[in-house]
């Protein structure tokens, strides 16, 4: 039978219901949880080396340095059990003497992670990485994110200020040597609906108006609609775009792939995902949510900068996109 790697074992072990973890998170503070883990590792003189919070996925990673010398200690403290109520699971164990990732099988009854010190190689120092999910409340106490609600305009661009900062490190202080809060996410909301409105050429608007009139006439059961039909057919030649084509086109213009061409960011911010937002009852994307990410730590507790949206280039691209459906006039 194929031996499971550590990662595979962990995957198998993640059977503990998330509810149990989130309950643990909401009732016990993270400090208490970390203290609990430290207590479990106590026979091996644990040191917290690095604490990382991934803001975007709401996960935390803690690296512990454990001393597990061969000999008496391994015999007296053979089993190390990490209960799920700590909110953490073991992600990997690294042999620091050989820098090998250990392939050790873990037992679990679904409520705890258990590893057997006997299975460890002959080295002394090991780095154990635990991972856990952290609550939104905790994140909100840890960092603050802000961005401009309305942009200022500079030449042909709209600029939004962005700021993120570590708010309260004391909830975790004294436990670690390094703190990293990664991918702190600021959502900048760019209203795009208004850009489309001015970019849509007259023949397209005209076609829609006639289409609406025609539909109205049909609905009212009017018999004499030949003139309107002719008008509609004529308008459809001038603007070959159908309403669904138009909606599809507008959606493609706010897709991350296309929209990202019009965004630039000051360092240290980097671009995350781009998500168009549409109201339930609306056919047209109303705004685009741009995720702006920064990493914060003790050395860089706050990040500042601007997001620049190339407004004119974007409206030009919208007009060009729509114009492909409007044939040029013959000279």
């Amino acid at each position: 039978m194929k031996e499971l790697t550590l990662q595979e074992s962990v995957v198998k072990l993640v059977r503990i219901p998330r509810d149990a973890i989130s309950t643990a998170q909401s009732t016990v503070s993270l400090v208490e949880q970390v203290s609990k883990v430290l207590e479990i590792f106590r026979p091996y003189t644990p040191e917290v080396r690095r604490f990382t919070v991934d803001y975007l996925t709401r996960t935390s990673e803690i690296k512990y340095l454990l001393n597990i010398p061969s000999g008496v200690k391994r015999i007296t403290h053979r089993k190390i059990e990490l209960p799920a109520t700590t909110g953490f699971r073991i992600d990997e164990v690294l042999d620091l003497d050989t820098t090998d990732l250990l392939k050790i099988n873990y037992d679990s009854n679904g409520e705890k992670w258990v590893f057997n010190a006997d299975d460890f190689p002959n080295s002394n120092r090991f780095m154990v990485t635990t991972k856990g999910i952290i609550s939104l409340d905790f994140l909100n106490r840890l960092v603050a994110v802000n961005c401009a609600t309305n942009p200022t305009r500079r030449e042909e661009c709209d600029c939004y200020w962005i700021h993120s900062a570590i708010k309260d490190v004391s909830i975790l202080e004294k436990i670690w040597e390094e703190l990293d809060v990664e991918r702190v996410n600021v959502d900048v909301r760019i209203a795009v609906e208004r850009f489309f409105s001015s970019a849509i050429p007259e023949p397209v608007k005209e076609r829609l108006k006639i289409q609406s009139e025609l539909l109205d006439a049909i609905r009212r059961g009017e018999r004499n609609i030949e003139g309107l039909k002719l008008k509609y057919r004529h308008s459809a030649i001038k603007a070959k775009i159908s309403p669904t084509d138009l909606v599809d086109l507008l959606m493609s213009l706010v897709s991350g792939e296309f929209f990202s061409n019009f965004i630039s960011l000051d360092k240290p911010f980097v671009l995350g995902s781009i998500e168009p937002h549409r109201e339930l009852t609306s056919f047209i994307p109303e705004r685009v949510k741009v995720n702006v990410l920064s990493d914060l730590n003790f050395q860089l507790p706050a990040a500042k900068g601007e997001l620049t949206f190339k407004r004119k280039d974007f409206t030009d691209a919208v007009t060009t996109g729509i114009k492909t459906f409007v044939p040029k006039r013959k000279k």
């Binding site: 603050a144 802000n146 500079r154 570590i166 009852t281 047209i284 507790p301 601007e306």
Partner: protein, 350 residues
């Protein structure tokens, strides 16, 4: 945006105050200095119009009126805060000054003023008719043109209310209004509309839209002023599972109209770049015995701050023979935009 350093012997690693904000918008500020600098207290003097929302990295502080004295930080060389303005502002631009000082042995080793710049939008009436005349000549109808000016900073949402003697009444968003009217009448009468040759619509698109509308109807999430009884009975009708197919049929029948109408309606919704009119182009109705019409433009900014509305009173001179016919008069708005753009560095697009 920092103005005026009173004196400093301290090396700043990083400092920041958000360069512009709308009234009541959170403004972050931070200060970070060389870790070797020793201090006893950090003093923050806030102007009375600003309220402290929260501190970053502050362990202990005391407060006296608008002055905060920080005695301990959680890590030694960094702190931050967010503030927001408390009330309304009359001026387009208001500058509020926050003074931050580090004190050691009762001496200021650092003192600096940080400016918080608050901007608001401003809507004003430039020109509007005092009287509007109606005749039976429909071709030669007088347009109701109002010129409005938007100045200051920020995007606004404008809603129009019309009064013909009594209270001001807001018109619901016409598209949804129309949709639900159609649905109400269809389901009440069990009405079947003749099939007609439709305009092709992607079936998947149709399916998604129908789903969205049903979900929204179930949540009673329509901004409507249709008859409450009608709406309630429609909602209970929607909730009966066996009616699902009928809803889908009904929706699909109206969808192409909705799609076209929604695109058209949307062109009216953004008359210019920073103005949104969720009701579309405003329209007033002249009923029998209307002598005077009041048009009120209510507006708010992106922080939902409401400002003093702009009102226009128009006298009605009805010269028609038959004054009982209800007449629809669209209001044509001419916009003058004088936008302020808070300063900052140059456009950084490479």
């Amino acid at each position: 945006m920092q103005i005026g350093v009173k004196h400093t012997t301290m090396k700043i690693v990083s400092e920041y105050v958000a360069p512009w904000a709308l009234p009541k918008e959170d403004v972050p500020l931070h200060l970070m200095w060389e870790p070797t600098i020793g201090y006893d207290t950090i003093r923050i003097k806030l102007p009375p119009d600003l309220a402290l929302k929260e501190f970053f990295n502050v362990a202990n502080y005391t407060q006296e009126n608008s002055t905060y004295l920080i005695s301990q930080l959680k890590t030694s060389n960094f702190f931050g805060l967010t503030v927001a303005s408390k009330g309304d502002f009359e001026a387009y631009h208001t500058q509020e000054i926050i003074n931050i000082a580090l004190i050691k042995d009762e001496e200021e080793i650092f003192s600096k003023d940080y400016a918080v710049n608050i901007f608001r939008p401003y809507l004003s009436l430039v020109e509007g008719p005092t009287v509007i005349t109606f005749t039976d000549d429909l071709e030669n109808k007088e347009p109701c043109q109002i010129t409005l000016k938007l100045s200051g900073f920020g995007n606004v949402e404008i809603r129009t209310e019309i009064s013909s003697g009594g209270e001001f009444v807001e018109r619901a968003e016409p598209l949804y209004q129309e949709l639900v009217r159609k649905m109400v009448s269809s389901f009440r009468l069990g009405q079947s509309i003749n099939k007609h040759k439709g305009i092709e619509i992607d079936p998947l698109f149709l399916q998604n839209k129908v789903k969205e509308y049903i979900e929204r109807l179930e949540l009673s999430d329509f901004p409507l002023d249709v008859d409450r009884d009608d709406l309630e009975s429609l909602q209970s009708w929607v909730k009966i599972p066996s009616n699902r197919d009928k809803i889908v049929e009904l929706m699909s029948r109206h969808l192409e109209t909705l799609l076209v109408d929604s695109l058209l309606y949307y062109f009216d919704r953004y008359p210019t770049d920073n103005i949104q009119m969720p009701q579309g182009r405003p329209v007033m109705f002249i009923e029998k015995a209307t002598r005077r019409i009041g048009v009120r433009f209510r507006y708010r900014d992106a922080m939902l701050n409401q400002y003093k509305p702009v009102e226009v009173v128009i006298n009605v001179d009805d010269k028609r023979k038959d004054k009982t016919v209800r007449r629809e008069i669209p209001i044509k708005i001419k916009w003058i935009i004088e936008r302020i753009n808070p300063s900052g560095e140059c456009c950084k697009v490479g």
